[in-house]
Assembly symmetry: C2
Homo-oligomer: 175 residues x 2
DNA sequence: GTCTATAGGCAGATAGAC
DNA sequence: GTCTATCTGCCTATAGAC
């Protein structure tokens, strides 16, 4: 287990950082806050992450990669894509809850465009090929329905609500 | 116009502050940023707003009051309430875009609970009296559909999309 | 109503001991 | 890998001139 200590510490830092970032925002969270939460000093953080921004990137990178995979993947039916997106979000609820709000992530030069492009590609795939502008509006509504449901429902009730959410999002898509 | 100068300056400060807060977040925006944007110094801001937090409150207070009025108001049909909520958001798009993200607003002791209560009351009124848990999930979806649509659609196209959004949100509500 | 000047604190980041 | 100590700079906020 000595060899795993490095990874454990790193993961623990990321966990606490995510928790604080979500609650207070990226800019509103100091490295001291994170260090205190983990139980050691600011300086020690710098061994694991050379800069504050690296925490943000380490948190978002896997989400972006996974979303890219989802959007690029082979879901032929809008309904199955919506369901897959819902599962994707449920699985990563904490990070997603953070990303959807964080101005720093939306403002970040390297992240903002990537995320926006992904969300637009997802919307357009949900809308389907040959979609009209109105179709894309409804697709955006469907995605919004999924977001709001996941973020506002008590996590433990999510599994039970899953099918209701998918059905509601599909209904929004159909208009 | 001399008498109006005070109000104009105040409004201008709030406008710029909102713009910067939305882009960079509350914590990520310094009073210097705002002062520079308005065209005078930090210290001058303090004449109009005794503390940074007062900018936040001045921005959110009218929105909260208006939302409270909307939720308390007499919209008997879920559809008319959803439409009214959409119009409410369209009318205040910039502030709402800010509120929906800002951790500082959600974390603020005096604001967080109030806002959350309002959103829950709104959801429950949309769900209607005697609603089941599933009804409330669908109501949350409907609200999310409205949010996402308004925030992702180019503002100038919103009037044209309005009816599509309402229809889509109502469909989400019906399931 | 806006300014200059500055207090006082905390931020992110680094150096180097252990 | 984690520590202490410290640098530098920006932050909010205040005092007081104009």
């Amino acid at each position: 287990m000595t060899q795993v200590a490095g990874r454990d510490t790193r993961s623990e830092i990321l966990d606490k950082a995510l928790e604080l970032f979500t609650r207070q925002g990226y800019a509103g969270t100091s490295l001291r806050d994170i260090a205190d939460a983990v139980g050691f000093t600011k300086a020690a953080l710098y061994y694991h992450f050379p800069a504050k921004e690296d925490l943000l990137l380490a948190l978002l990178d896997p989400v972006i990669k996974a979303l890219d995979a989802l959007v690029t993947g082979e879901h032929t039916h809008p309904a199955s894509l919506l369901a897959a997106y819902l599962d994707f979000i449920i699985e990563r609820r904490p990070v997603v809850g953070f990303v959807l709000r964080e101005p720093a992530a939306l403002d970040h030069p390297a992240l903002a465009q990537v995320q926006w492009d992904l969300i637009v590609r997802l919307r357009d795939r949900v809308a389907g090929p040959g979609s009209t502008p109105d179709d894309r509006v409804r697709a955006a509504c469907a995605l919004g329905a999924v977001h709001m449901a996941v973020l506002s429902i008590d996590p433990e009730n999510l599994p039970a609500a899953r099918d209701v959410i998918v059905a509601s999002a599909c209904a929004a898509l159909a208009g």
